[in-house]
């Protein structure tokens, strides 16, 4: 079970969190003309990289904040965690 550092609460066990998917996806702006392909990419297409990946976790049984976690998908090593509005490196 992962041990995730929540920037608001400190280190907590994985079972306090819900996984939220790829954190690098950016929602297209509202009211913007956008092609089917672009929209399709946003809604459905995700990379599944082996290695470093920036992902979202929701501290659902804690502070209820969404956080960003930089994690190695093959070793599970967590390099850094960020608040939702924090700029990632």
């Amino acid at each position: 079970m992962l041990y995730i550092f929540c920037p608001h609460c400190g280190s907590r066990s994985q079972n306090e969190f819900a996984y939220g998917g790829d954190a690098t996806v950016k929602r297209p702006e509202l009211n913007k003309e956008i092609s089917d392909q672009e929209w399709n990419n946003f809604v459905y297409l995700r990379k599944s990289p082996r290695g470093k990946h920036l992902e979202l976790w929701h501290h659902i049984s804690g502070c209820r904040q969404w956080i960003k976690v930089e994690r190695d998908t093959s070793t599970h090593e967590i390099f850094k965690t960020y608040k939702a509005d924090e700029l990632t490196e």
């Binding site: 297209p28 070793t75 509005d85």
Partner: protein, 998 residues
């Protein structure tokens, strides 16, 4: 009663406490501290089971977790506990155990015929035989194989035992209390680290209890006693025996199973049977020791053949002789220690050493004691069926290929030592890739992936001096990293007999003309010939060989068999062991009971039960409850002998005719507050929200980004910047996460906060033509007229001194209101409604009537908003704004969602007006069409319309809007029904919606 094999002056069992137990119905006794194994051996019993495949007689091979054979079934209080290791289970008064895998008895086992049919059971036999004819599989082959194979029989009854979970954090977890575990724990604890020391056995000390060594001028046993006593007295140390750390997971999370009362007759009611510890450790020291390796020779599975270290432990710990004419067969000095123990206790052993001219302190000692030793000698085969009676021994040539001087000698046990295999399972589970160490012919951990170090013999260090020094240093070093303290304790001096290296010999060749079975894996009946066959058949990867032959599988996980198996594969393949590699070690290291994994989360405790504040009233009024997520909701209120159908019809009819009240507390409620709340709702919902006035409610639908409806509900503007959102019961948690996602990550510029208020409000829906009259009596000081409180209006009012909120919203399609009060007043509100409502013929109604009411009104719910429908499909397209953007809008213009014959919700009525249509039925044009019959859609919800007194269903079907008026068929292959139906509008009752506005 005397025990023929019990020694008087040695051992650690409590001679003052006799304990009786039964094995296969026969009564035996042992002493407190005995295991089933030691007590049975003391009584001269060696036959305890039958093997997995060939049903060959099985005895004891080891003395702890290493035991592959002696697996028994424990029974007490009519409860069964399968797969108990006789070498681990301590006896208690009244214990009942029996053999498994034999019928009718362990002495006469019919399945043993397999032993004579072994040509039909080669490696992978289950892939080859029992294949034809295919129809035989279910009825004949499978039941037969199931009866013949497998070990214990699980209980099918509810397990009444108590199991617990515990979460613990520590600086340093040490797995095993042998010399390295004790030394490192002591060094680290003295340096201020918070230490957990886990020992699998009841007694601490590991090899120190059985080795003839001296530490700090004390015997090994005395020194370990001293250290453990001091550790137990320290507040920063947790010491646990009977506790197996069986799994090493990510981020230094280890799981340990503590056997709390497995060794006790059940006396204390609340004492758990086992406890599972989830331990998050900053650092881990793996000191799990090593397991002696067997030597491979003919019939080496005969009862009486066992590990030499086990024989030694039976003598030193339990005061039990495994035999009185022992033969020691060894390729290293460990066998000599066992021989010396036998000799010291009055038994004359014979040592067969595969080495030619070994010399060491311990060999000299054995010679001086007068022990007979034969060098360059091997056991060719054990003789005897249910117990070793003699052995064929032979001289082996220097190249270890040829046997000569074969002779038969009498013996009653054969103690084998093929050197030691480090227990690297935990290290391997942590991600540590092991490396092969040529010197010890075994794998040891290589480079840590997590914060762990392996020490002692688990790391291939087989001298005590080396082990103790390394452990003291590591304990200090690791604790210093965490505590930054510098308290170093002095390392005690160590005296042990020097030993020489082991012989690389491990498998005795077959003499000419003989075809003895030579077993590698004792638990799974895998012999040398099976591996040879697998390789002949082309299996190369060790992982494939494992699965094809079952080598190293099951509860044993190759503890004794792994390396000999690898050795054989590499010999045949002409490779070296490291090239062959080893199979992956997976948790659990030893079997863990399902009960311990589940813990207290059993039955109703598997999830929380949420009850509304009015729950007691429902109970008192004969409510029959239904699970709605984690909530308990009244399904109907039973009067007399009413069925569900009758009761729900009565309740629904009463709503249409008079007035009913329904507990709607479970609806999700979310407070949305902030200056940008309107803008936020406008982006979340498909319809327009910017112009909703204060004091008004609006129905809204929210989508996921893929255009699928996520949830629906009403949201009310309480004040300028405060909205009260309701969600469905099931989606409440998801909707809150969804809102938080957009507020925190996508539109952080919006100044809005959301918080769940589900549990803060108790809700009652009052519905029916009499509801306004009732409301006027409930709130005499508030104007609730149609003008003052119109449809979708909102008012705060006073309910006999309690502040209440009235929302004029309707799910039933009748004139209806939802009244909310703070949860603590829920019951008060409910009782007032019932009391005041009496004159209006009020009745409480449950979820079944609620469904009936909404279905015949064509209001959609979870069965239509099932994660596959877009607004159009549920006839909600009128709520989709064309002017503004919102979550999921772009998806709605994708071609599949705009097709003219897109699915749409319709009503379905059976032509005979009497046959109810099963939910999930298909709607088809021609019931006799060739299969697969093209389906137009499915029936999502069914009810008995109380308005028209006939069955009515909702269905979502292709081109629904153009199907109205058509005569089709509802087919339920599951219920074997075909019902002619007519498609009608989904708004079956009051299509203009006059009643809600009345």
């Amino acid at each position: 009663m005397s025990q023929d094999f019990r020694l008087d002056n040695i051992g650690m069992v409590n001679r003052n406490k006799k304990i009786s137990f039964t094995f296969n119905g026969k009564k035996y006794f042992g002493y407190e501290g005995d295991t089933i194994a030691s007590a049975l051996i003391a009584n001269g019993v060696h036959l305890v089971g039958r093997s997995f495949k060939y049903h060959r007689p099985r005895g004891f091979f080891g003395v702890g977790v290493d035991e592959p054979y002696a697996i028994l079934q424990l029974e007490r209080n009519n409860e069964r506990d399968p797969n108990i290791r006789a070498t681990e289970q301590e006896i208690f008064e009244g214990l009942e155990v029996k053999s498994v895998n034999c019928w009718p008895s362990v002495n006469f086992d019919i399945g043993a015929i397999n032993n004579f049919l072994k040509m039909f059971f080669p490696a992978g036999f289950y892939y080859k035989t029992f294949m034809w004819p295919p129809s035989f599989w279910y009825k004949i082959y499978e039941p037969f194989i199931r009866m013949a194979a497998g070990f214990g029989e699980a209980s099918i009854k509810h397990d009444k035992e108590r199991y617990e979970h515990k979460y613990e954090y520590c600086d340093l977890l040490i797995t095993g209390s042998g010399p390295s575990g004790l030394a490192s724990a002591y060094a680290a604890a003295k340096n201020g680290a918070r230490v957990i020391l886990a020992e699998d056995k009841p007694r601490y000390g590991g090899s120190l209890l059985t080795s003839d060594v001296n530490v700090g001028n004390q015997t090994g046993a005395e020194w370990s006693e001293k250290i453990i006593t001091e550790l137990k007295s320290m507040s920063n140390v947790i010491v646990k025996n009977r506790s197996q750390v069986f799994g090493y997971y990510d981020h230094n999370m280890l799981v340990m199973s503590e056997r709390i009362s497995d060794h006790l007759p059940k006396t204390q009611k609340y004492l758990p049977k086992q406890r599972l510890w989830y331990i998050r450790a900053k650092e881990v020291l793996i000191s799990s020791g090593s397991i002696e390796r067997p030597l491979v020779f003919g019939n080496n599975d005969t009862p009486g053949v066992m590990l030499s270290s086990a024989a030694k432990e039976y003598i030193k710990v339990y005061g039990v002789l495994v035999g009185k004419k022992p033969l020691i067969f060894t390729n290293n000095d460990s066998g000599y220690e066992t021989a010396i123990e036998f000799k010291k206790n009055g038994v004359n052993p014979l040592i067969l050493d595969t080495r030619k001219e070994p010399s060491s302190d311990i060999i000299t000692e054995a010679k001086n004691l007068g022990i007979e030793i034969k060098y360059s000698y091997v056991v060719v085969a054990a003789k005897g069926y249910k117990k070793v009676k003699s052995a064929d021994i032979a001289k082996i040539s220097d190249n270890k290929k040829d046997l000569s001087n074969i002779e038969n000698i009498e013996c009653d046990c054969i103690c084998v030592s093929g050197f030691w295999t480090p227990s690297i399972h935990l290290a391997s589970q942590s991600g540590n890739k092991s490396e092969f160490n040529e010197k010890i012919d075994a794998f040891i951990p290589k480079k840590s992936k997590q914060k762990e170090n392996t020490i002692g013999s688990a790391n291939g260090k087989f001298t005590l001096e080396e082990t103790i020094n390394e452990a003291f240093n590591k304990g200090y070093e690791v604790s210093n990293k965490i505590t930054e303290n510098n308290n170093k304790v002095s390392v005690p001096t160590v005296v042990e007999k020097k030993s020489t290296e082991h012989d690389k010999f491990w498998c005795v060749p077959l003499p000419k003309g003989k075809s003895y079975k030579r077993f590698l894996d004792f638990q799974n009946d895998v012999a040398v010939t099976d591996i040879e066959l697998a390789l002949r058949e082309g299996f190369r990867s060790i992982e494939h060989v494992k699965r094809y032959t079952t080598l190293g599988m099951a509860t044993d996980q190759g503890k004794t068999s792994n390396l000999n198996g690898l050795q054989l594969v590499s010999d045949i393949e002409n490779k070296v062991v490291p090239q062959v590699g080893h199979t992956t070690f997976r948790p659990p290291y030893t079997p863990v009971s399902i009960g311990a994994i589940v813990g207290r989360e059993v039955g109703k405790h598997s999830k929380p039960t949420r009850k509304s504040p009015m729950h007691e009233w429902h109970e008192k009024n004969n409510a029959v409850f239904v699970d709605a997520g984690v909530w308990l909701r009244p399904r109907y209120y039973k009067q007399g002998n009413e069925t569900l159908f009758e009761a729900s019809k009565r309740e629904a009819k009463n709503v249409r005719k008079n007035v009913g009240v329904c507990d709607v507390t479970t609806l999700g409620k979310i407070d949305v507050k902030g200056p940008d709340a309107a803008e936020f709702l406008n982006r979340v919902y498909t319809n327009a929200w910017l112009k909703l006035p204060v004091g008004k409610a609006r129905y809204g639908v929210m989508l996921r980004e893929d255009g699928i409806v996520m949830d629906d509900g009403t949201t009310t503007r309480i004040s300028e910047n405060h909205y009260h959102m309701t969600t469905t019961t099931a989606q409440a948690a998801n909707v809150l996460s969804h809102l938080e996602y957009y507020l925190q990550l996508v539109w952080p510029e919006l100044n809005v906060n959301v918080v769940s208020t589900t549990e803060q409000w108790a809700g009652a829906a009052i519905a029916g033509p009499n509801s306004r009259a009732l409301l006027m009596k409930l709130f005499p000081n508030t104007d609730v007229s149609n003008e003052a409180l119109p449809f979708m209006g909102y008012k705060e009012a006073d309910l006999f001194g309690i502040p209440a909120k009235i929302y004029r919203i309707s799910f039933s399609g009748e004139l209806a209101y939802e009244v909310n009060v703070e949860s603590d007043y829920g019951n008060f509100m409910w009782e007032k409604i019932i009391e005041v409502g009496k004159e209006f013929q009020i009745q409480a109604y449950g979820t079944e009537a609620l469904s009936t009411l909404r279905i015949e009104m064509g209001h959609v719910a979870g069965s239509e908003l099932d994660g596959r429908t877009i607004p159009h499909d549920a006839s909600l397209e009128g709520l989709v704004s064309k002017k503004k953007d919102f979550i999921g809008k772009r998806s709605l213009s994708r071609s599949a969602f705009t097709k003219p014959d897109r699915e749409k919700i319709v009503g379905v009525v059976p032509l005979d007006k009497t046959t109810s249509i099963p939910e999930g039925s298909y709607i088809v044009k021609d019931p006799k069409a060739k299969l697969p019959n093209p389906k137009l859609g499915h029936v999502s919800a069914s009810c008995w319309s109380v308005e028209y007194d006939n069955p009515f269903s909702l269905a979502i079907i292709k081109d629904g809007k153009n199907m109205i008026g058509q005569k089709l068929f509802a087919m339920s292959p599951l219920k074997n029904k075909t019902i002619p139906v007519e498609i009608v509008s989904s708004h079956y009752v009051d299509p203009e919606g006059k009643r809600v506005r009345a």
